[in-house]
Amino acid sequence: MNIKKSIILNLRWHRRIGLSLFFMVIFLALSGFALNHSVGLKLSNSKLSSDWLLSWYGLEPAANHGFELNAGNWLYQADDSKLFLGNQVIAQCKPPLLSVAEFEQQILALCDDALIMLTAQGQLIEKFTRLQGLPEDISSITVHNNTVYLHGISDVFAFDADRLTVTPTSIILPSSNTAPRPLPRALKEYLKVQGLSSSISMETLILDLHSGRFFGDAGVLFIDIVGLLLCILAITGLWAWVNHQRYRKDQG
């Protein structure tokens, strides 16, 4: 009689736990399957472009700002380190894109680690990196009287684009606005459609959902509890089977 009561109680809880975990078990199995085959499914290549999802991650769409050139084209950075002129990828450099200037049929783009020299059509001429002598802490470029100036925190350098040399100068330059401006709406839409406006992959999203991290600490705790309940489910299932065997033996 005690065994029968125990079986009923055990099965009742087994059913309750099993029913409450129904959707979570299916979700964890499917998301685990997707993560196991993320390379084949190309999940890391699939980028998110949903604004609310990016804001949930605390990210702004990467390519919100850029520099408008005299010809009306926009030079900006998107998809991590790629430099775009209009819709074309023209070079790569470490973000952020700090400043852009036009000088003698050339476009000069200052990134975090290099000064990129481009033709007016956007063809890469060469890069001038910190390793080659680009001073630290350069934050903007200006062109004044046919000379390129690199602005540091406290110093200004004259830059010779032909010889790749920088010379400290004490010249006082007129102030100019070199800050990036918001990209036109059409360009933003294009980047969104192409999936170039964010850096969160589908693999990251699924992994964060699978582990519960997507919902912060509460999500992780929830998945922990689900894991614990799955263990209890396995134990109660085993217990039910053992009791059932004992009950059948007792019944003769």
């Binding site: 033709t119 890469l124 001429i125 060469e126 390793l131 080659q132 002598g133 790749l164």
Partner: protein, 170 residues
């Protein structure tokens, strides 16, 4: 003779990443009198051969180099696995006189910077099909970095031949 793996250089404790020397310092170390930087413009022919050497299209329209007499010094970049390796190569009379890793950005494979490895390139020249005429022993766990250094060494020799040939012809 079979190639010998430089397994003694593959300690997992080695810190691979680093910026070891700036370009201007490398040039100052190579030349007693510091020559001005010159420019090699990459014509279609040069680009085509450079593409064969690197296995990918070469970026940029021009390359900087320094030259004094028959010696040229090149600072070139090539991706190892994911990040570019900055390599200084000195060529004298169509043979490599020095290879130095100036910056290594990958987390593994930085053993290519050791002189035990780079001294293998000394005296290497370019074959008719734009390959190194010396076999270079690999490093276990740094295969992609070794390939990158091989490509850059061959490219520097090819570029050297272009600038010295053009000087000879003028």
């Amino acid at each position: 003779m079979g190639s010998v793996l430089l397994t003694s250089l593959t300690s997992p404790l080695v810190i691979a990443k680093g910026f070891f020397q700036s370009g201007p310092d490398f040039i100052a170390e190579v030349f007693q009198q510091q020559p001005n930087a010159k420019v090699l413009w990459l014509t279609d022919d040069i680009r085509e051969n450079a593409k064969v050497i690197l296995g990918r299209p070469v970026k940029g329209l021009r390359v900087r180099y320094h030259q004094f007499d028959l010696t040229t010094a090149w600072i070139l970049e090539e991706i190892g696995k994911e990040m570019p390796i900055t390599i200084g190569v000195v060529v004298t009379d169509n043979e490599i006189a020095r290879v130095k890793i100036l910056a290594y950005r990958e987390s593994r494979g930085g053993e290519v910077r050791y002189s035990a490895y780079t001294k293998q390139y000394l005296g290497a020249a370019l074959t008719d099909n734009n390959r190194l005429d010396q076999s270079i022993d690999g490093i276990t766990g740094a295969t992609l970095s070794v390939w990158a250094v091989n490509k850059v060494a061959a490219l520097a020799l090819y570029y050297h031949a272009q600038v010295t040939q053009s000087r000879d012809s003028t």
